[in-house]
């Protein structure tokens, strides 16, 4: 079965990754990765540094182009339009359109530095979705409330702590009403005492039924919240299964070594 056919076959999944490979020059950052994610589940991805976790997330959001295989998000093949037996590359605007179903939270927050917390959140709905300002300001305030930062609406990112910035970044992504949220090590740039506040927001989000793909080193969080855990190494999926299996009683020695190293 070809990758594209497989992507089309599993239509209950919200994300289907089929035989995806990605090269950076001679380096194979992803090697024949296949994974499918059901709506409303939390998929955690763990693995050592350089194993391709970020690359996989970035491929789902088309921040990187894949070299082999195919990905479908929310029922649509990403990056290409299929015409008969040929695939046509999408334009910049069409790719931007496809990204609307996906929200992304970055390790280094990447809040827009020249905008306040509130402006960061309404920017997408305002300029991309072109919704009326009044309506989205009310929604943005509700989101700020939800991440516990209503009093910081007029603060610039440089005036916020790392944990606060990351919570605003989550609110910014949610303001676009995505069907899927991608988190790339959302807490690993934070001081230990700030990790909890971000994980709490993510826990609440998972409880609302949001589909989430989370790259994380927080094994405790993964065990508690994940529906399914994937362990990656050297661009490949080494082991996959429920958190109680992969995190507690892994079958692969590489997984076991990694978990032992993280827990020290």
């Amino acid at each position: 079965m070809s990758a594209v056919e497989k992507a089309a076959a599993s239509d209950d999944a919200i994300v289907t990754i089929a035989h995806v490979s990605k090269f950076f020059g001679p380096l194979k950052a992803l090697n024949n990765v296949s994974l499918s994610i059901q709506p409303g589940t939390v998929q955690c991805i763990i693995g050592p540094s350089g194993s391709g976790k970020s690359t996989l997330l970035r491929c789902i959001n088309q921040l990187e182009k894949i070299d082999e295989g195919a990905i479908s998000v929310d029922g649509a093949l990403i990056g290409y339009r299929r015409v008969g037996e040929t695939l046509h590359e999408l334009t910049d605007a069409e790719i931007a359109q496809q990204r609307l179903s996906t929200g992304m939270v970055f390790q280094r927050f990447n809040l827009f530095n020249h905008m306040t917390a509130l402006q960061n959140i309404i920017e997408g709905p305002l300029t991309v979705l072109r919704r009326p300002r009044k309506e989205i300001v009310a929604e943005a305030m509700a989101l700020l409330e939800r991440v516990g930062l209503a009093d910081k609406r007029d603060s610039y990112p440089s005036e916020l702590s790392g944990g606060q910035q990351q919570r605003v970044a989550i609110a910014r992504a949610l303001a676009m009403r995505p069907k899927l949220m991608l988190f790339d090590e959302p807490t690993s740039a934070l001081d230990p005492e700030l990790v909890g506040e971000v994980l709490n927001v993510m826990r609440d989000l998972a409880a609302t039924g949001m589909t989430m793909i989370v790259v994380t080193h927080e094994l405790g969080f993964a065990r508690e919240v994940a529906s399914d855990v994937v362990f990656m190494d050297k661009g490949e999926i080494v082991e996959q299964g429920p958190p109680q299996t992969v995190l507690v009683a892994p079958s692969q020695p590489r997984t076991r070594d990694f978990i032992a190293a993280v827990l020290k």
Binding site: R99, M104, N110, F112, N113, Y156, S158, E159, M176
Partner: protein, 297 residues
């Protein structure tokens, strides 16, 4: 001579804490100030005794020809700079585009206009009629080049296109100074490349772009004087016209210099406020705001 460091035991410290402090003496500053005052005094004396008719300077400072020259200088500065900035932004974006044709055009433009003297470019535009007696779209409309490209148009094109080539590099530097994470975050909320540039990257690049462009506005005020060679009636040319008639060369040059200084001073003040505006969300501004809040408390 005493040792540089003073050995101290913990027993002495309490006594030392109560001692009188003699501030450092800055003898160098006093000597430099005295020398500079001397030179200044000598200069003032020289100009007072020299053959300068200050009443003539005062008389011509607001003469109609000087004021109209001043206004032409300002109009040209604004128009040429506006053209330069628009071209600079457009060519910087073309330069950074993945499209090789656009990139090539931008490279050629920057190469050509940075690579030839401004005076030569002005003369080329002014004499364009020698190459193309008429311009327009054949069969639709056409004008005589001499009617279209007079001193004003030639100066505007010369200064503006030349400025655009320099500004393109400044803008490109500004765009490169913005963290790639900002672009990725913008893409992740669904912005297209142009929206990302307009809403996210350029506003942040401004902080880096404004100081050099401010410099260039100030250069442009003075560069407009080059246009006197192609008969554009800016302030220096009008001052020259007057002194050809009345032979008060130095007086009229002082008048022009005075006006240039006044304009440049005003522009510098404007630049300060612009820079402050575009430092939004940066550390310095935060410090100032916190200070204001503390004052208020």
């Amino acid at each position: 001579m005493s040792a540089i460091t003073s050995p101290v035991s913990s027993r002495d410290l309490a006594a030392i804490a109560r001692m009188r402090i003699v501030p450092r003496r800055f003898y160098g500053r006093w000597i430099a100030a005295a020398a500079i005052l001397g030179v200044l005094g000598w200069l003032v004396l020289a100009f007072a005794k020299g053959d300068i008719a200050w009443p003539v300077v005062a008389q011509f400072f607001t003469a109609p020809a000087i004021l109209s020259g001043l206004s032409n200088t300002l109009i040209m500065t604004v128009c040429a700079m506006a053209l330069g900035i628009v071209l600079g932004v457009v060519f910087a974006i073309m330069y950074m585009s993945p499209n090789p044709v656009l990139r090539g055009v931008a490279l050629f433009y920057i190469w050509f206009f940075r690579g030839t003297p401004l005076l030569l470019q002005l003369l080329l535009w002014f004499n364009l009629a020698l190459v193309f007696p008429t311009i327009g779209i054949p069969g639709l409309f056409s004008w005589r080049t001499i009617d279209v490209i007079g001193p004003f148009m030639a100066t505007l094109l010369g200064l503006g296109m030349n400025q655009g080539a320099y500004t393109a590099e400044v803008v490109r530097g500004g765009i490169l100074s913005v963290d790639a994470g900002q672009t990725e975050a913008a893409k992740a909320v669904g912005m297209t490349r142009l929206t990302t540039l307009r809403r996210i990257v350029l506003p942040q690049a401004m902080r880096v772009i404004i100081p050099p462009v401010g410099n260039e506005v100030i250069s442009m005020v003075k560069l407009t004087s080059v246009a006197s060679v192609i008969q554009y009636a800016e302030i220096l040319r009008n001052a020259q016209t007057i002194y050809y008639a009345n032979a008060r060369v130095i007086e009229l040059l002082i008048v022009a210099a005075g006006w240039y200084l006044i304009v440049v001073t005003v522009l510098q003040i404007g630049q300060y406020f612009l820079e402050r505006h575009f430092s939004k969300g940066r550390g310095e501004r935060r410090a100032r705001r916190v200070a204001v809040q503390e004052d208020a408390a």
